[in-house]
């Protein structure tokens, strides 16, 4: 089969079953050359299984995996030109940092001089040159993480696989490593496939994100695609916070705008996922930061404030609408100006233009 060279990894109708349990159901997508690609989903969604299938640690029940046009799903792990950064790093404890980094190149029988140079160069890239002779247990968690990264990058894999590599680090370190990982990916030009359950991690680093749930691909796209134009309720709820309100479609969308009616009778303009027909049931998803509160008026969406939560950069208003639905509104704390609303007060809820996303059930 001829594959376009621009696709680094091509997952074709891949199914994985463990006994009677189906971990992946017919998943298909492309990972492009030179991109930072993230598999995102809750635990048990099949993202790690998929990564381990690309690495060669799990067999493929059905379907095919191509790596730069070459079919690889039958190859053993040690014959695949991909390397993995493991969740718990899996550094060889009896080898020094340099020996760990050189291991892959040594197995590929590269000349000693090349191994020496490349090891030095890659340790410099992850800023560990000073620790070259240490053993893994003499390093901090963050340093071990860098060794794991260096070890996987050293043999110049065609694709680098990262299995929740930051999850064992504390928050500050994790945030610093995000920036660094992205930088290293850009510097080396290697395709990264990154697995995480942390949506913030996914949003900040990825060129594209594949959201998975229950063994199925839910949506694939850039961070802003997925955040602003979720395809279904799962994606809308999993990535960031959102408000979901049940609606009925008034008429089929015209020019990408679809008016729909809330239970209270208020009509809202939304941008629909797909092409729903008139009368279809669905939900609109609106991010809390795309809502604002104003003084009550004659018409529009109204609700009563239940609670206000001060969160530093912004304040969260929890309210219930007149039809009983609950809603969260976030307002940035820009300082001094508006007095805000107190619990028990009524307010009119304004929706930013284009902020309502219609998701048909």
């Amino acid at each position: 089969m001829q594959r376009s060279p621009a696709s680094a990894v091509d997952i074709r109708n891949v199914v994985k079953r463990f006994g009677s349990f189906t971990a992946l159901r017919e998943v298909s997508f492309d990972i492009r050359d030179n991109e930072f690609f993230t598999l995102l989903g809750p635990s048990g969604c099949g993202k790690t299984t998929l990564l381990r299938m690309i690495a060669g640690f799990e067999t493929v029940t059905e379907g095919a995996i191509f790596l730069y046009g070459e079919e690889i799903e039958k190859l053993p792990a040690n014959k695949r030109p991909v390397n993995t950064v493991f969740q718990q790093y899996a550094l060889f404890p009896h080898m020094s940092v340099t020996e760990n980094v050189a291991f892959g190149m040594r197995m590929l029988r590269r000349p000693a001089e090349e191994i020496r140079q490349r090891s030095g160069q890659i340790l410099e890239l992850v800023q560990l040159s000073a620790f070259a002779d240490r053993k893994p247990d003499q390093l901090s968690g963050g340093q071990q993480q860098r060794v794991a990264l260096a070890r996987a990058l050293a043999p110049r894999p065609k694709v680098l696989l990262l299995d929740e590599p930051l999850s064992a680090l504390d928050l500050k370190l994790r945030q610093a490593m995000r920036v660094e990982l992205k930088q290293i990916q850009e510097e080396t030009g290697i395709t990264f496939v990154f697995v995480t359950h942390d949506q913030e991690e996914a949003l900040t680093m990825s060129d594209r994100i594949a959201v998975m749930s229950a063994g199925e691909l839910q949506q694939i796209g850039s961070a802003s695609d997925i955040y602003e134009r979720p395809r279904n309720r799962f994606v809308a709820g999993f990535i960031g916070e959102t408000n979901l309100l049940p609606v009925t479609v008034e008429e089929a969308p015209i020019n990408g705008v679809c008016s729909c009616r809330l239970a209270s009778g208020v009509v809202i303009e939304s941008n629909p996922a797909g092409r729903p027909g008139a009368g279809a049931k669905g939900h609109i998803s609106i991010r809390p930061e795309r809502l604002s509160l104003t003084a009550p008026a004659v018409d529009g969406l109204h609700g009563t404030i239940d609670r206000t939560v001060y969160m530093g950069t912004d304040t969260q208003y929890l309210l219930h609408l007149d039809d009983g639905a609950e809603l969260t509104v976030r307002k940035q704390n820009t300082g001094g100006d508006a007095p805000g609303f107190a619990p028990g007060e009524r307010a009119r809820v304004e929706i930013d233009r284009g902020a309502a996303r219609l998701l048909v059930d």
Binding site: A55, F57, N83, T84, Q88, A90, F103, K135
Partner: protein, 309 residues
Amino acid sequence: MASAARPDSGGAPASAGLSRERLWLLSPTLLMIGFFLVIPLCLIVVYSFLTPGTYGGVEWIGSTAAYVQFLFEEDFLSEELTFHSAYLEIYFGSFVQAVTATVACLILGFPTAYFIATRPPRQRTLWVFLVTIPYWVNLLIRTVSMLFIIRDEGPLNALLLEIGLIATPLRIAYTDFAIGLGLVYSYLPFMVLPIYAAIERFNFSLVEAAHDLYADRWTTLREVILPAVKPGVIAGSLLVFIPSLGSFIAPDLLGGGKQLMIGNLIALQFQGSRNWPFGAAAAVILLTIVLIVLMLFTRKQAANAGEAR
């Protein structure tokens, strides 16, 4: 000012108290070792430098005759000493037997331990239990049973004759092979258990990491698994080698007492030959060899560890 004059006064009593407490905790073991190991050991060393009594026991006359006897033969008439190697050969033979048994235990025990350690946790307990089952039966009874199975008219030969694999009964009992068989059977669990413990602690994601970094199975075993479980292999090997070297029951029963090993040689001096000093000297020589082997081992280990740092 009084406290300044003795700067250590704060710390010293505290640490002394701690070590006194430790001594109390250790005292039962220390007493045990003192009475039943150190004192008998001293007695043996002393006896090895005495003269044999006529009906066993010793005469309190100092002599190095026992050690001389180990290497030299005294001519009856001329009292000339000539070198003879019979005892050295027994030691060498025992050494070879012990090494063979250790290697055989390693070859059998490593895959067994690996198998057990890679079972689901609940099954492991059962397998470990099965490995230890033979220890519920006395070693003597187990060895005699083995002799019964391998003797010329025993079930093993009967089976082999029945299926036509052999025409005449195999001579297994009362050979070096039988002794080896007995040693392997007796000490195999001592090899399996420490290796099992080491493999169980082994982090198997390291195997995935090695495969991921282009290592094949054999290289992974050699470069990743073995270095990690080496302490278990060494412990198991010592636990098999040392008792094998001085073993008594297996060579006595399975070897028919004809193939002398160190253990039988020593026992013989205290029983039939009634030459206690020579028996004591043989024991001291064995002990010295074992200690030297152990010391070389630990020194090499320490050197390896130092090199690794």
